[in-house]
Symmetry: none
Subunit: 414 residues, 2 copies
């Protein structure tokens, strides 16, 4: 089925935001077996939205729109879709109830333009919005079909995954099954070299590598008549891949390293605490993103100043003076101090230079020491993070800390 | 002048790459005073490229294309532009010389399809490519104008800045100046209601509201003959806006609240530390994103367990028992304990229920208490965060903590 993506929003035409919705939807539609023929972007202008929908239907049977479903006057995508496919707007009671409930909870008054959000074309199938106030919907007429979703990416992606994808699966003949394999510790060129013959020969399953911040993913995809056939083809290929680069794989289901580590901590009931300097709380923040982690995560200390390192962790003034705050010795004393205080099974520490300033020829930006106290022993690991910018340096440092934790949990060496 | 941006490339329709070219060009065109009416994306398909160019010319006088200028068979944007504007392809000698030179240096043989890159419409103005082999060009016929540039962002942006921008400046009569006003504590519908007459009457300057995670932005834009006139019109409107919603504005220059707070802390040399429960280090992480913040940020304690709250901050067991970990009393004792330990000017604490689990009818997910010890006094603030998901709840809680800090720094009440 031929499809087009229409993004509605003047802010896109001003270049204020990047159209990540079109990227996400293109990936998803292609995976579901739909051909994406066009991307269109127009502003919040009813005439141009209408004209573009009409044009898109000349070459496509399916149009997916994002944006223009909000409460304000220029949010008119819904009304235009309704008119184009010859339907009439009607109050949708469940949506009105949800809206009223929402405003009651917030203790805010509902304005007339909010009420507009509960009206839909009478033949529409409504898609609830779990992350915002504007529901989505689909409307069909003589094989021409439009799906309208809200513009904020967080709301749109959730609605797509939970509501729209299952709906689209009923329309598509072929299914694509894929696994996103996540690796740590191997670069993209090396991964490609190790799998070169498999990538070159690809017809089905296909293999593609993607570099992400500090790590690398591999997508194995197969398009077959049934999900079972596609899944089997992918899993057979995965076995071959594992034989070559298995030691770098930490997830075969596109899970973040933090989720993998969090699950293992909870399953094995291993308690953890952390002492951070250069990452400034990012490791604690990342671990505590996992619901239920309070069962094993005791505390995190962001000992940014030298005084805090001494006060909170008992790092020796002489160590800081002799070796510096960014040193193996300090990392180890931080982890050992933390273990004394918390008695947690794993006590992990980090000290380094996140940049942009603070580097020297001996200790450049990107130099990081990770300490880990585990089962009575304290280990350390020196990292040289590629200095891109402060955010990258901190993010990749936390990945390395998670990798250290993962290795300890697996009983592997650092 | 009305303009459209056409991105050519099948990889965009697969969602393999994000269309950053459209963002860049939209920003630049708007700043030069061109109205961007449409973004179009099509694959490397001559028929659809041609059809889309024709359609774009129905509503616009200027089309900017990126992509499809390379040496391969499906790179046909140039030929289609030539045909649409009734010109003929002709060898461009200087481009051929450059190409020959390039291949000589590389010690590679030049193929016929490489030679194609030196042919251009006879009336075209050529834009050299300093970063690749495919030059760009512009072609005009009866006031309809097309500008074609290569697709790789590095080549395109350089060509635009060095060659295309000076060319476009000769065509444009107006310039646009805008400010992005950032607010906290007011919802989008309320902001729109408060400014309704200004928004409705808008011709110039124009006003538009944007909802972001937990906050709201307002864009004020003006299009005039000179930048000075436009800037004055925007700033005059800003004064009117400030009279109505000034208490919610924290930046008139599109700065994040964390940057605003970080700058004030550094400028006023006010030291700060934090004790976090539900946000799990996100406040510390956000503050330490600011380079140089180590001058004023002493430490952060992520006291996740009750034991950690008692050990690290001296929260009383009886307080935790009587009022619970999520209570005003605990938030205050956390802030006071932190002040005793660190002696920082501002000691900020937070305790709450981030979800998805852990809520009760009395203490639902989203209930948060912020404590702040400042100049010998400890204040607290109760928040009811709209429960979207754990990430949202934590992010908006940190925004509220930054708002509290900002208010203390400004000497305003919470």
């Amino acid at each position: 089925m031929k499809s087009a993506i229409l993004s509605v929003g003047t802010e896109l035409l001003f270049g204020q935001i990047t159209n990540t919705n079109a990227v996400f939807l293109s990936q998803q539609l292609n995976l579901l077996g739909f051909d994406v023929m066009y991307h269109y972007t127009v502003g919040d202008n009813p005439q141009r939205v209408k004209e573009t929908i009409n044009r898109a239907f000349e070459g496509c049977d399916l149009i997916i729109t994002t944006g223009g479903l909000g409460p304000t006057q220029d949010d008119l995508t819904k009304e235009i879709a309704c008119e184009t496919l010859h339907d009439e707007m009607k109050l949708h009671e469940p949506s009105m109830e949800k809206l009223e409930d929402y405003f009651k909870k917030l203790n805010r008054e509902m304005t007339d333009n909010n009420r507009k959000q509960a009206y839909f074309p009478s033949r529409a199938v409504i898609f609830d919005n779990d992350a915002g106030t504007a529901p989505g919907f689909t409307l069909e007429e003589n094989g021409r079909r439009i799906i309208c979703m809200p513009g904020p990416p967080r709301e749109m992606t959730r609605m797509f995954e939970q509501k729209v994808m299952p709906y689209l699966e009923t329309l598509s003949e072929d299914v694509i099954f894929y696994r996103m394999i996540r690796t740590y510790g191997i670069g993209e060129s090396q991964l490609e070299t190790d799998l070169e013959d498999l990538i070159d020969k690809q017809t089905d399953p296909t293999l593609a590598t993607y570099a992400k911040e500090g790590e690398c993913s591999l997508r194995i995809a197969s398009k077959r008549h049934t999900k079972e056939e596609a899944e089997k083809a992918v899993d057979d290929m995965l076995e071959t891949v594992k034989k070559r680069v298995g030691q770098f794989i930490y997830s075969c289901d596109d899970e973040d390293l933090s989720s993998v580590v969090g699950k293992k901590l909870l399953e094995q009931n291993v308690t953890i605490s952390c002492a951070e300097s250069c990452t400034g709380g990012l490791f604690a923040k990342t671990l505590t993103e996992i619901p239920g982690i309070s069962q094993v995560f005791d505390r995190g200390l962001v000992t940014y100043s030298n005084k805090a390192k001494m006060d909170e962790l008992g790092v020796q003034a002489s160590t800081l003076e002799e070796y510096g705050a960014v040193s193996e010795e300090t990392a180890i004393e931080m982890a050992e101090g933390l273990a004394r205080i918390t008695g947690c099974d794993i006590c992990i520490s980090v000290t380094g230079i996140a940049g942009p300033d603070g580097g020297t020829p001996e200790k450049p930006v990107g130099l990081v020491y990770v300490g880990a106290s585990y089962k009575g022993t304290t280990l350390s690991k020196k990292l040289t993070v590629r200095n891109v910018n402060r955010t990258w340096n901190r993010t990749t440092t936390v990945l390395a800390m998670l990798d250290v934790t993962n290795r300890l949990l697996d009983g592997r060496g650092l």
